[in-house]
Symmetry: C2
Subunit: 423 residues, 2 copies
């Protein structure tokens, strides 16, 4: 599961894609991955080989079958209704990142899409599932988990439970001597902490891998002596440079936020997501979160949810926190997220393809003409919310490359083409 | 997780209970088991220590947080309504197995009850949850899984998909040289196969333990070279004696039935339970099944479900397969289960406390005046269906002893007292 997290890197689409299998050859059902009782040895997907492409095309919508998870209860209420008003978007043409014409169907294929949902003013205008995925199956959303955690933290700041200017050590004395000892909650939420920690999935020596071993998502090698739980890993992260200087994308910041939330509320991450979001949006299915070997819930990359429930989540956000007449999240909370962060500090990450962006409270803010805001996860997971167009797009994928920053312009162009087509 | 399965043994209630902690001291929340973020080291429950009493009182309703599982989808339909007509049964007195007076409340406590549900003619007359369990939490049902698997197999026999007289090797060539090579499906369903396999949780050398290691429910010791999946384990079981001579309780027989079902239908156990039962009964929550390290679903002891959904399951069976006007399971299928098996062959197991019983298609048949029938699981899991009284009782527990055959008379007396009280 090497290709899980990390959003650095500068490979171009052309470089990255040249050596990849063609998407049409990677359908897990056609390939026989985990098919049959029992599956043949060479078609077996386990945590030890989810990195071996195309195993993710099965694993990312069967993650629960590979390890411990906690349920995010949808609650007792009926699911909220998403009316349907189908549009055929497949043949819509738009210019890709190289200026070549491509269709929405071809873009989905090229980016290894497992599911695409388009909501326009709350109506389903387009919904496709691929790779054997069904509508009720939760799919790994990887780092889009961060945006859920960030929203929960913003809600807790809004209701006074958390103080954005408090030092992390005030909430978590265990981290007093770690990098977060003198970092504020807001710096941690905005990933402007100065940490001796780098996340690069292309570098086997990256700090990412011991973090992933601590989550249990990748097995530790024999005799491994490193931390076997996320809280234990966080304690080992030391400070480097100063806080509040520049944005660097670091999953461990989110784990700290998740830990703070759980410590202060006395509720698990899964309980918080259920109580404060999933029940409120009228989710159709339970979601779930990955659990580490010591029972800690992985608040940075652990959530799995269905395509439609992620659509409901996006639609609630687009609608200033309302689902019908029910105010699920205060408008002020969403306004806080959407105002964005410091665009100058964002530049420190060197994500030139995201020029003009900021990262605030675990959300990507493009500061564009549509006031759009975005959640992103590795292997091409997207929630794109475009309030000006009344648009919510959810894309779940099993891209063979973890870091799909190189498709950023292509994806943005596709989202814009969809916005134009449905007006 | 030593105390998982096995129904042999002859310890008396008095012997067995003398050395046990008092039930009122074992509430997992009061004890702080898995409480806090992260839980303290000495309060940590993992697969390696679920046998250490009272860890089961947390683990048995959080099993999903300890390892891989597959979801049993409840389906898209609304849950079936269970009307409520509360009766206070707590103070009902009855005679225990030693002739001493005991109340329903005291019986629940003495048998480490996590949840008790009583349905009378489809109405909830009593429902209690303990040990921090909530109504939406699935609880391990251990060997009651067998009765679900047996029902599915009986349905497949009824619709002609399976032939009870076919040899197992006809469906599973992999087992041709194993004990089941010349055993019929019916012998396997009735556990009258002759196997070199004994299930005794009090004997560390029992074949039970390598079986449990194959399921992944208990961790294998360092350097363990035995089978790491249920199908691989089944291949190692050899014949001993003759088939069709006597009943012996053996979880591996059920695993063979589950494997046959999946092989023949091309659907996983979780899919079969969902499609053929869970959707039909109008379950309120998804259930789930434990998955072994190679992705096989554990059809003998792996199911986990909520108290109420097990009540719906029992009520459907009591009602000759109907839920309202919907025929979920053919009456003939339930009649086949209820007719029972060979009472003479049953005697071979030496379960004197169950004199007069038979075991047929994975159900316990008392052949009593009420035509009752029962599912049973270790650590005191019960579904008791008494058609004469219009009664369904579901009891979920975390009894410190796996084998609770020594409370059989006590439990039967409690069921009879409840039947009398609600008439």
């Amino acid at each position: 599961m090497v290709a899980l997290v990390g959003l650095g890197g500068s490979a171009t689409a052309q470089d990255a894609m040249q050596s990849l299998p063609r998407p049409e050859t990677t359908d897990p059902v056609a390939l026989g991955l985990m098919q049959g009782f029992p599956p043949p040895q060479d078609k077996l997907v386990t945590l030890a080989n989810t990195t071996k492409f195309p195993n993710g095309s099965w694993a990312f919508h069967h993650l629960r079958e590979l390890g411990p998870t906690a349920n995010v209860w949808r609650g007792p209420q009926p699911s909220s209704v998403l009316p349907s008003e189908p549009h055929d978007l497949d043949d819509i043409k738009f210019a890709d990142d190289k200026g070549q014409s491509i269709t929405i169907a071809a873009w989905q294929k090229a980016t290894y899409t497992d599911g695409l949902l388009v909501l326009h003013n709350g109506r389903i205008v387009y919904e496709k599932l691929y790779a054997g995925m069904t509508a009720e199956q939760p799919h790994a959303i990887w780092s889009m988990t961060k945006s859920v955690t960030g929203l929960l933290a913003t809600m807790s700041i809004y209701d006074g439970t958390l103080d954005p200017n408090a030092k992390i050590a005030q909430y978590l004395p265990e981290l007093a001597t770690s990098a977060w000892g003198d970092a504020t909650l807001q710096q941690t939420l905005d990933m402007t902490t100065g940490l001796n920690y780098r996340e690069d999935y292309t570098d086997p020596k990256s700090d990412l891998f011991p973090y992933l071993m601590a989550t249990g998502l990748i097995p530790a090698p024999a005799g491994y002596g490193g931390p076997r739980s996320v809280p234990d890993f966080l304690k080992t992260v030391t400070k480097q440079g100063e806080h509040d200087v520049g944005f660097q994308y670091k999953s461990v910041d989110t784990e700290v936020v998740g830990w703070v939330l759980q410590r202060v509320t006395g509720k698990s991450f899964a309980e918080l997501v259920s109580e404060k979001i999933w029940r409120g949006i009228g989710a159709e299915q339970d979601a779930f979160v990955w659990v580490d070997p010591r029972g800690a819930q992985v608040a940075s990359i652990g959530l799995n949810a269905t395509l439609r429930d992620l659509g409901r989540f996006g639609e609630m956000l687009r609608n200033d926190g309302k689902v019908g007449s029910r105010q699920v999240v205060a408008k002020a909370v969403i306004d806080e997220v959407r105002k964005g962060g410091d665009r100058d500090k964002f530049k420190a990450a060197g994500q030139d393809v995201r020029a003009g962006y900021s990262y605030h409270n675990q959300w990507w803010i493009p500061h564009d003409a549509n006031d759009s805001f975005e959640a992103k996860g590795l292997n091409s997971q997207h929630i794109h919310i475009n309030p000006a167009a009344g648009l919510v797009i959810v894309k779940l994928s099993s891209h063979p490359l973890g870091n799909t920053l190189f498709t950023h312009v292509l994806d943005r162009n596709a989202f814009a083409a969809i916005a134009k087509a449905i007006q």
